[in-house]
Amino acid sequence: MENVIAERLTQTFRSTFGKSDIQLSRGTTAADIKEWDSLMHINLIVAVEREFRVRFTTLEVMSLSNVGDLADTIARKINKE
């Protein structure tokens, strides 16, 4: 993950889930964060979209498997703009 994206992403995760001790890696998935359920997932996507000023398509959201995928999609969208 690019450092800047990783840092901002970690902050977004911490504020969305209300946990200051979250540490992310490329392989982090919903199974690693107890509060990360299907309802919170959409809150997270909305928070990430606001933080990075991007808009994901439904296909992009549904194709995400882990935090690494999320960071790559963000990087791709930022570089496109």
Binding site: S38, L39, H41, I42, I45, V46, F56, T58, L59, V61, M62, S63, S65
Partner: protein, 470 residues
């Protein structure tokens, strides 16, 4: 061929022996052949329908993978999924639109269509690659233990198991799991079904007892019936050497309706979460609380309508979604309250399951009652009082229901065995001494000889599984 039959036990035993003696690369051929043989005992014509649907999805997925990243992939995925939904809707709606009572509905059509839809969508989303070989894919779709009523296993967790050695160690576990399923079905569900059936037949008696019995016992009957069916399906898979996802996780211990639906028919609810709720919620993410309420209601209505297109199931779905929406909209407030009042957590753990059971029991009336009028009658009778309790109870336990009370102590015993199974599994400890090992093998063999003889001597056979009709 019924699960609860001597023929099925023989069929499973022969398949399990064949599965072990044949080389790894032939396993999928064996499973495909035996699964279609199983299917043909119901209807050879519908086996052809299954084969055609499987072939169509196999080739569509290969094409989807080739088109990945191009706009044509989206159009093809939509066409493929729409075709499958229309296919399922055709068979589900046909009985409503036709007056004929001899309409054939493909066995397990909901379950294999769901497997095919998730496979196509996963390939389109790029989560998995399309399966290159047709035979293993077709064996996955038609896998006979899961054909009747699931669990809905994803292709990614099933296919790798066909190439795995070491299946022998699961036979004991599978036989015990199947025995648990047989006990749930034939001792608990069928006997509770006698009480529930009697109660629905006596709603006009002017007493509250039939309503109370029907209200409180039907959820237990449904659970014992469906989880028993799942136990037999999972156990059959283990006897063969394949593992399946769980479908139930002590649903009546849930402290909220949201938690209940995470513990009940888990492979269907997780399937709908992944392929209905998440896409709908993603599309409606800018609509705030309305989007959340809409996504939950659509999801729950689909779960309800999957059981049947009746007004009763619409009410069933809307009733459950009321609670799901209320719980989802108050998550943060409830969480804050729990943090501020630590005792409330303990109270919720005690009171929650009682509340959940009542909500599920009230909702289940719309599931079981033959009509909305009958459901209304049941609720109205609750106010009739119990002045004739003695004579009503006598009527309730008179023949043919006189032995049905056995279901209640049996349920308690089976629930305790199930708790042990969830915690420790049905495996023998690795270091178990030889005498213990052989006494367990001996007991399980004796138990299965008894079950087989009972099935062989049974004239009537068990009642059909409630969930086998969906």
């Amino acid at each position: 061929m019924q699960f609860l039959s001597f023929q099925y036990l023989c069929f499973l035993a022969v398949t399990a022996i064949g599965y072990r003696v044949c080389p790894l690369r032939w396993r999928s051929y064996l499973l495909l052949g035996t699964s279609y043989l199983f299917y043909c005992t119901w209807s050879p014509r519908m086996a052809v329908v299954l084969l055609l649907a499987t072939a169509l999805c196999y080739f569509t997925a290969l094409r989807l993978q080739a088109l990945r990243g191009r706009s044509a992939a989206s159009a093809l995925a939509r066409a493929g999924v729409s075709a499958l939904i229309l296919f399922l809707a055709f068979f589900k709606l046909r009985p409503l639109l036709s007056s004929s009572s001899n309409l054939l509905i493909p066995l397990g059509v909901s379950y294999y269509t769901f497997r095919l839809i998730s496979y196509l969508v996963d390939v389109y989303w790029g989560k998995y690659n399309a399966v290159q070989e047709f035979v293993p894919f077709a064996a996955y779709v038609a896998f006979f233990p899961q054909l009747l009523a699931g669990p809905i296993q994803r292709e990614s967790s099933f296919l790798p198991q066909l190439n795995r050695q070491g299946a022998e160690s699961r036979v004991l576990e599978g036989l015990l799991r199947m025995a648990l399923g047989f006990a749930k079905k034939s001792i608990v569900a069928d006997n509770l079904g006698l009480f529930v059936g009697w109660s629905y037949g006596h709603l006009h008696s002017g007493s509250a007892l039939p309503s109370i019995v029907a209200l409180y016992l039907f959820p237990l009957q449904l659970y014992a019936d469906f989880s028993g069916l799942t136990d037999i399906a999972i156990g059959s898979g283990l006897v063969l050497g394949t593992e399946a996802p769980e479908n139930f996780d002590a649903p009546f211990s849930a402290t909220s309706i949201t938690e209940f639906w995470r513990r009940w028919h888990m492979t269907l609810t997780s399937w709908l979460r992944d392929y209905v709720f998440m896409p709908v919620r993603t599309l409606t993410r800018d609509w705030g609380k309305i989007g959340l309420a809409l996504s939950l209601t659509v999801n729950m209505l689909l779960i309800a309508l999957w059981h049947g297109f009746t007004l009763g199931f619409v009410v069933y779905g809307l009733f459950q979604s009321l609670f799901l929406v209320a719980e989802a909209l108050t998550v943060s407030q409830r969480s804050k309250y729990r943090l501020a009042h630590p005792m409330s957590e303990k109270v919720a753990n005690l009171v929650g399951p009682i509340f959940v059971y009542h909500v599920i029991a009230v909702g289940s009336v719309f599931f079981r009652a033959p009509s909305l009028v009958s459901a209304g009658q049941l609720f109205a009778n609750l106010g009739d009082g119990l002045s004739r309790l003695g004579s009503d109870l006598e009527a309730l336990v008179s023949p043919p229901n006189h032995h049905a009370w056995i279901a209640l102590p049996a349920y308690a015993l089976i629930a305790a065995v199930d708790v042990h199974r969830r915690r420790n599994g049905f495996r023998l400890p690795d270091l178990a001494p030889r005498y213990l090992r052989w006494s367990v093998y001996g007991s399980v063999t004796a138990m299965w000889i008894l079950i087989a003889l009972t099935l062989l001597g049974s004239e009537k056979g068990a009642d059909p599984f409630v969930y086998a009709m969906f």
